[in-house]
């Protein structure tokens, strides 16, 4: 077995049980919560007969152990319960919303990786005023809460200037097709993606600057300079290549933050992803959906971490062989 495959398998073994843990944690929380867990698993609905039917279906009248087994097997079959308020299965509701969220997250991620790594490297290599400005900006960038940043961007660009839509993903009332549809989505995507990307650019810049700076103090940089190769090659080939390892790791850690960021940003722009769904469900006390979003969100983050971790092993030749 090649070391890389071995490495990937090892990581799979590490990550998959986490999904199980998330489900167990959810179950325990529901059980530990004060009051009748039925209301959390079913939602605050008035219909007595529906509640009774659900209690039987979820085995809530049976011992804890049985409930646990039923819960786990339900979740693994993709059955997260039924949203009485929306008359739809929770899983269906969430799965429909995932693509929109992913579109937002991936766009922001792509832009910020591109911009953040370049800006961060330049800040680290240049030092001086440019660095001070850029790194101060990046601290401010990661500090501003994205939901507020989104609100301000919305007020300025949509309300005051009126050059972008107030929200949504497509223009209501038009049945665009093909390219037109694509452009319309892009038009709606601009502000939320910008909001999310600003935070993430700041984050990536900060991490990149830090680790390029660190890399530039390493001894092998002296060796590279002693060879007489151009400084740009020293920075990009020698320092950045090494600095990318922590950058990738932190990007992995940050997927959770980014997903949460997307959820909050969606709320501002009424972007039809998991975030808006979560916001509405909290207001309506539609707990099955809230729990479902927690489980699905965790799974997405776990998978993202798995991918990043494997990537990490590919970038750094030392990791694989450990």
């Amino acid at each position: 077995m090649s070391p890389l495959i071995f490495f990937i398998i090892r990581r799979l073994i590490q990550y998959v049980p986490m999904i199980l843990v998330v489900i167990i944690v959810t179950f325990l929380l529901v059980r530990l919560a004060p009051g009748d867990p039925t209301y959390i698993l079913v939602g605050e609905v008035g219909d007595e007969s529906f509640v009774k039917a659900m209690r039987e279906r979820l085995g809530l009248d049976r011992p804890l152990y049985d409930q646990f087994v039923i819960y786990i097997s339900n979740v693994f079959r993709g059955d997260l319960g039924y949203s009485y308020l929306r008359s739809e299965p929770v899983a269906k509701l969430i799965v429909e919303r995932i693509p929109a969220t992913l579109l937002l997250v991936l766009t922001a991620m792509f832009i910020s990786a591109l911009v953040g790594i370049i800006v961060g490297t330049i800040a680290a290599a240049r030092r001086g005023v440019a660095d001070l400005t850029l790194s101060t900006l990046s601290i401010i960038g990661i500090s501003i809460p994205y939901f507020w940043l989104g609100q301000i961007i919305l007020i300025v660009f949509a309300v005051w200037l009126g050059i972008f839509p107030l929200g949504g993903m497509v223009s209501v009332g038009y049945e665009y097709q093909g390219l037109e549809y694509f452009l319309d989505v892009l038009y709606h995507l601009t502000l939320p993606a910008m909001t999310l990307a600003i935070f993430n650019i700041a984050f990536t810049t900060k991490i990149t600057r830090g680790s390029v700076l660190e890399a530039l103090t390493q001894d092998y940089i002296v060796t590279a300079r002693a060879k007489g190769i151009p400084e740009s090659r020293v920075v990009f080939r020698h320092a950045l290549r090494n600095a990318l390892i922590p950058v990738v790791t932190y990007t992995g850690f940050n997927t959770g933050v980014l997903l949460v960021g997307a959820i909050l940003t969606e709320t501002v722009f009424a972007w039809p992803g998991m975030g808006s769904l979560l916001y509405d469900s909290i207001r309506l006390r539609d707990y099955p959906v809230v729990l479902g979003i927690f489980i699905y969100g965790s799974i997405i983050v776990i998978l993202a971490n798995l991918i990043v971790d494997v990537l990490y092993g590919i970038i750094d030749p030392r990791i694989r062989l450990r």
Partner: protein
Amino acid sequence: MNNQGAAYTYHLKNVGLQLLYKSSKVFKVNPRFTAGFIIVLIVIILALVAPFITWYPPLKTLVGKPFTPPVALHPFGVDDLGRDIYTNVLYGIRTSLIVGVSAVTISLAIGILIGVIAGYYGGLLEDALMRITDMALIIPQFLLALVIVAIFGQNFQNIIIAIGIVSWPGIARMMRAEFLSIKERPFVEAAKAVGLSDVKIIFEEILPNAIPAIIPYAVLQVNTAILVEAGLGFLGIADPNVPSLGLMLNTAQQYLVRAWFMAFFPGLVLSIIVIGLNLLGDGLIEHLNPRLRKR
């Protein structure tokens, strides 16, 4: 160090001015730390004197005409229910700081305990604890806190506890890393060699050397806690009886087109708090990293 200099610092230590002397050096070296320190200081003072510089009770409705834009009597405007935004923002700072500090106290207690046990004893216990920590680190902490508050009830206490118990893993991990590296340093072995007991080695030799590395991260953790609270508030998960910057932004969301000030001021103040803490924490990290400082 030359003798005169040594004698001088020695003198300072004796008169208890050591801390001042050291921090004066920090300020000179790191402008970012200084800026952060000043911002945080101002924020703390504002939180403390809030009752004396506001002229309405917090959360009281109809003290002004709803949706009044900023005027002298209502510097930040009036919200949809006629509450004075300026008053609620100042009390909101209090809430943010209380949440930040108490939640971090909880997470420090859990994190240090787990980190110390894992770092010092090692073996299977460490493996198990660290596996749990890694998982807890990956699961989106915000969503977990949200679920906890949502199903346990939206009151102030629950929010603090929820934020506290979801944010320990970072501290635990750092603490363990510090312990592992300090444990390997020869002075710990030397302490063992002269016959110090485990408990004494942990508390007298290792912990005092590990704590300084944790401090800047604790500062940044306060920040995270404040942001999580605000985020929860923004989604509507908050205690309605406590002024909260996040909850104000939640209300503002419905009136963005009509009342920009409802979103602008609470968010601005929230951002300033977080910027201050970030500058402070970052400056501390940079100051403590000798390799970066040298350049």
